[in-house]
């Protein structure tokens, strides 16, 4: 492992890669601060640029964007009670009251230090857990992988849909259907191309991500008359107050951070869960851990209440990399986008990544830590200024997002058809967003579609067409049982709510 860490450090500490982490964190912070535009949009916009680099640098850039976006989301939660990303909603519960008491600078500092500590601790957990899990996952067979993908898709549908499980499952099926367009990987038979040569190679992953996130989010902002840049206009450079944290606050943070980082990391590892659930859960649990006197301060500017979700959401971001790096199966929409980008580089993440491309595996882990340091050193003092950059009116912001999306597709294919297809998918996605059809399940399904078919093919061929492979192995049966439990729990929750 020491050798791996050194390889990772050697790759991550090159001038180019440090610069990429800085750019990624900075760009991610800007996008993350804008309500409605989350990490997936930020990463999607970066994909075409990453193709100009080697895979390790590309992934490092995207990881920087991811962290930056989560940190940016916290900033708008604290300063304006307008969370940029769902994972930072819980941050506003105590961050915003603190800002209203004239302690915005302090709240930002607590959030930044907690994010740093949470991310750092989670990177350490990842450092030890990922190689061991990679070794364990080498024993996984096709039926296990197939069951894991079913679990991942069901979980993301259950957790991302705010009580709209069937809608989310429809999006899963739609994602898998889109992934099935083009040549069959084994027989080369074309499917659903309708004699259109442009569809022979299938629909580009970047096209689907750009259309369903970047472009459709931009169109939704116009359609709903939202103005995300309003947030930045309200930020005052002079009224943030001191960013110093006193001894008492430090002591409180030292108690909260370790437990919240563990909760966040474990939730992040689970497929479909992610930063939102991690932050809410750690906020709720922290309330149970503290004294009665501290409990009363929750919702009114509690240090524990702010540090807990901030630690957990960053720890969950690191945790989400565990299934991606060790199993090659993303657990969230954001890591699904990264998987798609890696596949674009010709790299298949999974248990063997650790052996075949150690520089990618370790440099991503190391760059996470470097990203945390950069977020702390650069972004915290620069937050008020970054916020001012955001005051760019939406009249400029939206065309620029559309421009980056279309350019991304243009430089990849030099094909009008792809641009039309992207616009078409974006228009449909915008309309579906209005009626709360979630997009992350579609992306995850689209990315996993090919792998899922491949593993089902192997499983069915090995078992001679019988579906017994689903319960023949204990591991497969356990994974499927978990899937069934998630569905049953969701049905129970829906009935209780009714």
């Amino acid at each position: 492992m020491i050798e791996g860490i050194l390889i990772g450090l050697k790759t991550a500490l090159t001038f180019q890669n440090i610069f990429m982490v800085m750019i990624g964190c900075f760009f991610g912070t800007i996008i993350g601060m804008l309500p409605g535009l989350g990490p997936m949009t930020a990463i999607a916009l970066m994909i075409p640029i990453t193709y100009g680099f080697d895979p390790a640098t590309g992934l490092i850039l995207m990881a920087g964007v991811y962290y930056g976006a989560v940190f940016g989301g916290s900033t708008s939660s604290i300063l304006l009670n307008a969370p940029g990303v769902p994972g930072t909603v819980a941050t506003s519960f105590d961050g915003y009251p603190m800002a209203q008491q004239g302690k915005a600078g302090k709240a930002l500092a607590i959030a930044a230090w907690s994010s740093f500590a949470g991310g750092t601790l989670a990177s350490i957990y990842l450092l030890f857990l990922a190689p061991s899990l990679s070794k364990v996952s080498l024993s996984f067979r096709s039926p296990d992988y197939f069951a894991l993908m079913i679990l991942g898709l069901t979980a993301i549908a259950a957790f991302s849909s705010k009580g709209q499980f069937i809608k989310a499952m429809m999006m899963v099926v739609l994602g898998l259907m889109l992934a099935s367009v083009g040549q069959d990987s084994l027989s080369d038979i074309t499917r659903f191309t309708f004699n259109n040569m442009n569809l022979t190679d299938g629909i580009s992953f970047v096209l689907v991500v750009m259309a369903t996130f970047a472009m459709s989010e931009a169109l939704t902002i116009i359609l709903k008359r939202n103005d995300p840049t309003e947030v930045a206009k309200k930020v005052s450079l002079t009224e943030l107050g001191s960013i110093k944290i006193n001894k008492e606050e430090r002591t409180k943070m030292l108690k909260t951070i370790p437990r919240s980082s563990i909760i966040g990391f474990l939730i992040g590892v689970l497929p479909g869960a992610g930063a939102t659930i991690a932050s809410f859960l750690s906020y709720g649990m922290e309330r149970n851990f503290v004294s009665d006197e501290e409990k009363k301060k929750f919702g009114k500017g509690s240090v524990h209440g702010l540090a807990a979700p901030e630690t957990a959401n960053n720890a969950a971001c690191s945790g989400a990399f565990v299934p991606l790096l060790t199993l090659g199966i993303p657990g969230s929409g954001t890591t699904a986008v990264m998987l798609g980008a890696l596949l674009g580089f010709g790299i298949q993440p999974g248990p063997r990544l650790y052996i075949t491309n150690p520089e990618i595996f370790w440099s991503v882990i190391m760059s996470m830590y470097i990203g945390m340091v950069i977020l702390l050193i650069l972004n915290l003092p620069l937050i008020p200024y970054i916020a001012r950059i955001l005051a760019v009116p939406k009249n400029y912001l939206i065309p620029l997002i559309l421009f980056f999306s279309i350019t991304g597709i243009y430089v990849m294919s030099f094909n009008n058809f792809d641009i039309y297809l992207m616009i078409g998918i974006a228009v449909v996605a915008t309309f579906m967003r209005l009626y709360d059809f979630p997009m992350p399940p579609l992306i995850l399904a689209f990315v996993l579609g090919g792998l899922m078919e491949e593993n089902l093919r192997r499983s069915l061929l090995i078992s001679n067409g019988s579906w017994e492979f689903l319960w023949e192995r204990t591991l497969t049966a356990c994974i499927l049982a978990t899937t069934i439990l998630i569905v049953l729990w969701h049905i129970y929750k829906t009935i209780v709510k009714k």
């Binding site: 259907m177 027989s187 116009i222 359609l223 279309i406 094909n415």
Partner: protein, 156 residues
């Protein structure tokens, strides 16, 4: 049963799934593959049935939280204009070239969204695109096709 837009979308998805399933059955596989446990149409057929199942459930089951969208407050005109500008951009980018079409796309989009300060419209279109092109083409070595600049002799 209460008919709302979500149900209509689900019905459209049901029809789409039925069409997908029909197309899946039409996929021609090799004769030696026809009776194997898995061939090129097996997975799409399962997907077609899954689509029918979930959209069917959505149509049949009562809606717990009905999503209400206030269409009067939606900005359809500007959105449609932006989409139209993007389509024109897509149609001309290959023939005219990246620089001119992208600059015009940006300038017209700013204008369509209500911007009237011409200096800013200009600065954030032509010089901005030139700088971006330099970054992509000159620094990152990403090829950009541009017949217009080639005609002017600016780009090789």
């Amino acid at each position: 049963m209460n008919i709302n837009t979500t149900k209509i979308i689900s019905l459209l998805f049901f029809i789409f799934s039925a069409f997908y399933l029909y197309s899946a059955y039409q996929i021609r596989v090799f004769s030696f593959d026809e009776n194997t446990p898995f061939n090129a149409k097996t997975f799409p057929i399962y997907l077609g049935y899954a689509g029918l199942f979930f959209s069917g459930l959505k149509i049949i089951l009562p809606e717990l939280n009905t999503i209400k969208v206030d269409h009067k407050n939606l900005e359809y005109k500007k959105t449609a204009i932006l989409v139209l500008i993007a389509i024109i951009y897509g149609a001309t980018i290959l023939k005219v070239g990246y620089f001119l079409t992208t600059s015009l796309f940006l300038a017209s989009s700013y204008y369509a969204l209500g911007e009237r300060r011409w200096l800013w419209i200009f600065l954030l279109s032509f010089p901005f695109v030139a700088a971006f092109m330099y970054l992509l083409h000159g620094v990152l070595d990403i090829y950009l096709r541009d017949p217009f600049l080639k005609f002017l002799g600016v780009m090789g």
